[in-house]
């Protein structure tokens, strides 16, 4: 045990750890290709560290030569995967420079396998002259091969130089595109440590220094720089995910608040319309009763007038109980309960509900139902909500027009054998063509204080009835909202 046999395995295990982490992340998270290439280069460097350690103990050509050949392959894998990593991760690399790295290194590597001069003669050395045991820091000894450098050794160094140029070039472009931090950290680290690692190898091979190869150490530093960048992505993604989760919770809360608000305002609308509806007959009954008392006090009492009063009181009473019946059915919260409905009843209820608004906004509400329409299948309360919503929207759309042109038309006609079509038309500005498709999306609104849920709810209701709802611009002015409802099938019609 000495510091060499401790330090190199540490480097190897550090590289393996980094590689395994990226491999694990890269299998599921982007940038996947970059992470997998990074993992490959980390494994190659782990291999390089192991081979470097083994080379410090080799004292014969037979031991040394296979290790050296594996080292050259591992360095090649590391360089190619690093080039590919930069290519993928930066997206700014020059194609020719990137291709030149494996090309040049492959030529150099060929010497290891094609040279006919026997063991030891290859990419690095032409000939091995012997092995020396060298003593270094702390009195630790290791073995070092000595030999004549191969004059063709230029290829691997060229590959390293091209790789450096490639990285500098890609980093500079990335820097200009705004990826400054990534360019500086990853690009800078690759360049500096290639210079250190390659330089140290060159010094050993020319015999200028006597120390173990430190390629893996230099590359470990590159790996740490690259990993820090990749992990920053993971951290950023995790932060983004938690922020998304937060905003989704806020959105959820907002959504339920809005749904509640819309229910409240719809109820408020109904309550106010129904109060008006009830006060009309109640007031008339009161006036008639008061008048009857006065007529009865006359001598002789005007019996014709009194009879007419009783007829009117009975009618107003029926009118009031009709309003209350409607109120009951509107306020009853229940799930969809479709039954056969008269289109005329639907339309007159909606007219009654919106009459207060129509007068307050000086808007004429015209009902244009074709005569003799068949019954439709639907839940009256829900369909009324949809119509109410569409009519109030249409009134908003014509609000800016001079009073004589403020008109909203509600129509109904048979569409085909199976469907009835209801329409709500206004003469306003119409809808921007690009908004026609979004109108029914939740929270889409063109009104300054709109909540953007009325139409979304309407669509939900209509689709639950098996109908469709859409909007189109009129040829003259304004827009028409249309929805379909299924007709009651002949056989089931009451």
């Amino acid at each position: 045990m000495n510091w060499i046999t401790i330090a190199w395995p540490m480097v190897a295990s550090a590289c393996l750890t980094l590689g395994l982490i990226e491999l694990r992340i890269g299998l599921t998270q982007p940038p996947r290709a970059a992470r997998l290439l990074f993992a490959l280069s980390a494994f190659a460097v782990a291999g390089i560290a192991g081979l470097e350690l083994a080379l410090t103990r080799a004292d014969s050509l037979a031991d040394w030569w296979p290790l050296m050949r594996w080292l050259d392959i591992a360095v090649g894998v590391m360089m190619v995967s690093l080039t590919a990593f930069i290519w993928v991760y930066f997206g700014t690399g020059n194609t020719w420079l990137a291709l030149a790295v494996p090309g040049l290194y492959a030529v150099g590597l060929a010497f290891d396998y094609l040279s006919g001069s026997g063991p030891g003669s290859g990419m690095t050395y032409q000939q091995i002259t012997g092995f020396r045991t060298v003593e270094t820091f702390g009195g630790v000894t290791f073995n070092l091969a000595e030999g004549v450098p191969n004059p063709w050794n230029v290829f691997p160094y060229l590959a390293v130089l091209v790789l450096i140029v490639f990285v500098v070039d890609a980093s500079a472009r990335l820097w200009r595109r705004g990826g400054r931090w990534r360019a500086a950290v990853v690009g800078g680290a690759v360049v500096v440590f290639f210079l250190v690692g390659g330089g140290q190898a060159a010094l050993i091979e020319t015999g200028a220094v006597q120390m173990p190869y430190l390629i893996s150490w230099a590359y470990l530093a590159i790996l740490v720089a690259m990993a820090s960048e990749l992990h920053a992505d993971v951290l950023a993604a995790a932060q983004l995910a938690s922020r998304l989760q937060d905003s989704e919770m806020v959105l959820q809360r907002l959504r339920s608040q809005l749904a509640h608000a819309s229910r409240v305002s719809l109820l408020g609308q109904l309550a106010s319309a129904l109060a008006h509806e009830l006060n009309q007959p109640l007031g008339a009954i009161l006036r008639n009763a008061e008048a009857a008392e006065l007529f009865l006090a006359q001598e002789p009492p005007d019996l014709d007038e009194l009879r007419a009063i009783l007829v009117d009181i009975r009618q107003d009473d029926l009118r009031a109980s009709g309003v209350i019946e409607r109120l009951r059915s509107l306020l009853k919260r229940r799930s969809l309960a479709p039954c056969a409905l008269s289109v005329g009843d639907l339309l007159s209820t909606v007219a009654a509900l919106t009459r207060g608004d129509a007068t307050a906004r000086k808007t004429r509400l015209e009902i244009a139902a074709a005569p003799g329409l068949p019954l439709v299948m639907g839940d009256a309360v829900h369909i009324q909500q949809v119509l109410l919503n569409l009519v109030l929207n249409a009134m908003d759309a014509v609000g800016h027009l001079p009073a004589e042109r403020r008109q909203v038309t509600v129509g109904a006609q048979r569409r085909d054998e199976r469907d009835l079509e209801m329409t709500v038309s206004d003469g306003g500005h119409g809808i921007a063509p690009e908004q026609l498709g979004q109108l029914f999306e939740p929270f889409f609104t063109t009104k300054p204080h709109g909540m953007g849920i009325g139409l979304a709810i309407s669509r939900t209701i209509i689709e639950a009835h098996g109908g469709r709802i859409w909007a189109e611009n009129n040829t003259s002015a304004g827009a028409t909202f249309r929805f379909t409802l299924p007709l009651v099938e002949e056989s089931t019609a009451p």
Binding site: G283, A284, L286, R287, N288, E290, I309, D312, A358
Partner: protein, 139 residues
């Protein structure tokens, strides 16, 4: 029967007294048919002479305009509202007292009517005696 008969019987006495004089002419502008008919009936029973109009436009179109002791206007009318009519008349210098009758007690409409100098603001469900008393006070 509560207090209403008492109020009405006191009304009746005064009605009888008024009947000897020429009848009080009152215009009613009200779009709800039943409300219009019942209000006119009450005024008739109280010895007044009501003329009914279904809209402010109808009222304006009734030319030459009869002389009215006062006007009873519904606030919400199709077309021109009661408040609009009040404004128009004020702008033309017509000083006929105006009463509003509404089925929908909207505080804003009430404020606007009061600011326009109306003689009274009643809900349709208020006691008729109160309205009749108010009319008698101004004629």
């Amino acid at each position: 029967m509560g207090s209403t008969p008492t109020a009405l019987s006191s009304l009746r006495c005064r009605t009888m007294a008024k009947n000897s004089l020429s009848k009080v002419r009152v215009a009613i502008v009200e779009d709800d048919e039943s409300a219009r008919r019942s209000l006119a009936r009450l005024l008739r029973a109280a010895g007044m002479q009501p003329t009914t109009y279904a809209s402010a436009e109808d009222f304006r179109a009734d030319l030459p305009q009869p002389w009215f002791a006062c006007l009873l206007l519904d606030v919400q009318l199709l077309g021109m509202s009661g408040l609009d009519l009040q404004r128009q008349l004020a702008a033309e210098g017509v000083a006929t007292p105006v009463f509003f009758i509404t089925a929908h007690d909207d505080p804003r409409a009430r404020e606007e009517a009061m600011a326009g100098g109306c003689a009274g603001f009643f809900r349709k469900t208020d006691a008729g005696s109160a309205l009749l008393d108010a009319i008698r006070r101004v004629v």
